[in-house]
Symmetry: C2
Subunit: 205 residues, 2 copies
């Protein structure tokens, strides 16, 4: 049955295990489309314009942003990054699901520009475990760990408006939850506009 593509938006505080869960999801469902972002930062060695990023001047980026060109955008370390809305809508129209691994600020913008998206928040089981995982990485200073924990508290406040909460207490169990959220998300009527139009007339496709 032909359906509309589903934007799947996944957020989590750092240390919740989001990256591992998304890697497993992409392995099981390699059909997810990638959205090529725009950025004002300079290309790094080997990066291809239009493939890794669309590289834009700051002026051009800001003009496009003013025109509502981006589904979401952010400034990171002085560089602007944005997701162009047009190509995204085209991928979705073609029935391709698009995965967004994005922070709560970006997710909030997507909620406004792509209201039909399905939003999943990955949670650590408790704050002690989150702190333990951040320390286990062995890559952060005490100061950085304290900042990450502070940011986590801010991010957790956004979790209640997401569609699905995935607690990552055990990796396999958490993956089963994320997988169910993805599969069930694709069953939402919003992704089946042709079927819904037929049903409204008391018929099937």
């Amino acid at each position: 049955m032909a359906r509309h593509g589903m934007p799947l938006v996944i957020s989590a505080p750092s240390g919740a295990g989001k990256t591992t869960l998304i890697r497993r999801l992409r392995e099981e469902f390699p059909h997810f489309a990638y959205s090529v972002s725009c950025t004002t930062r300079a290309p790094r060695d080997g990066e291809v314009d239009g493939q890794d990023y669309h590289f834009l001047s700051r002026e051009r980026f800001e003009t496009l942003r003013g025109q509502g060109y981006f589904a979401e955008w952010a400034e990171v370390h002085g560089n602007l990054y944005g997701t162009p809305l047009g190509p995204l809508r085209e991928m979705l129209r073609q029935g391709r699901d698009v995965l967004f691994d994005i922070d709560v600020q970006g997710a909030r913008q997507l909620k406004a520009s792509l209201a039909e998206a399905t939003f999943v928040f990955v949670l650590p089981p408790d704050m002690k475990e989150l702190e333990r995982r951040l320390r286990l990485r062995g890559q952060d200073t005490e100061e950085t760990i304290a900042r990450r924990l502070h940011n986590a508290c801010q991010e957790l406040r956004e979790a209640p408006w997401y569609d699905f909460l995935v607690v990552n207490d055990d990796l396999d169990a958490a993956y089963a939850r994320l997988r169910a959220a993805y599969v069930a998300g694709t069953l939402r009527p919003v992704y089946h506009p042709d079927l819904v139009a037929a049903l409204a007339q008391g018929n099937l496709l």
Copy 2:
């Protein structure tokens, strides 16, 4: 993690395969609670009051109905049937999931009395297949089949407001969809009020 019970409401036109799908769901998840209905019909041999049904006089049923006692009610072949809301809310409060195998009229009432329920509509793949399945049963007259098909068209009009649409083109695939809808449904913030309260303060349980 303690959570609130989830009312799972499943509707389908007759011949869509709902009964088989629900049987599989109950086999895999035997923890679903049963809600004991009230009815005005006479007990049949062996039926136990308070176990199979709460048997009520018509007068008593109508008084209770007037007091908003029922989450949903219906008249079938001259007898009244209803789901008492109080015991239902108590089971949900205890964290027990409750499954409703119910027609679209009942589902619409549950949408009003139990707004937090998760609603799943099971669809046949097309009208020809629905007709074929009704004939295959070999238990209905032509007139009954025609009536069932007419009713199916009426019921399909309600499908768009359900949370998840499960097309039953293949039994295993349809069951995987229903299962995902159930598992994902339990991840909705509405069933995790304590967690959501903690998150709103930037914390975990």
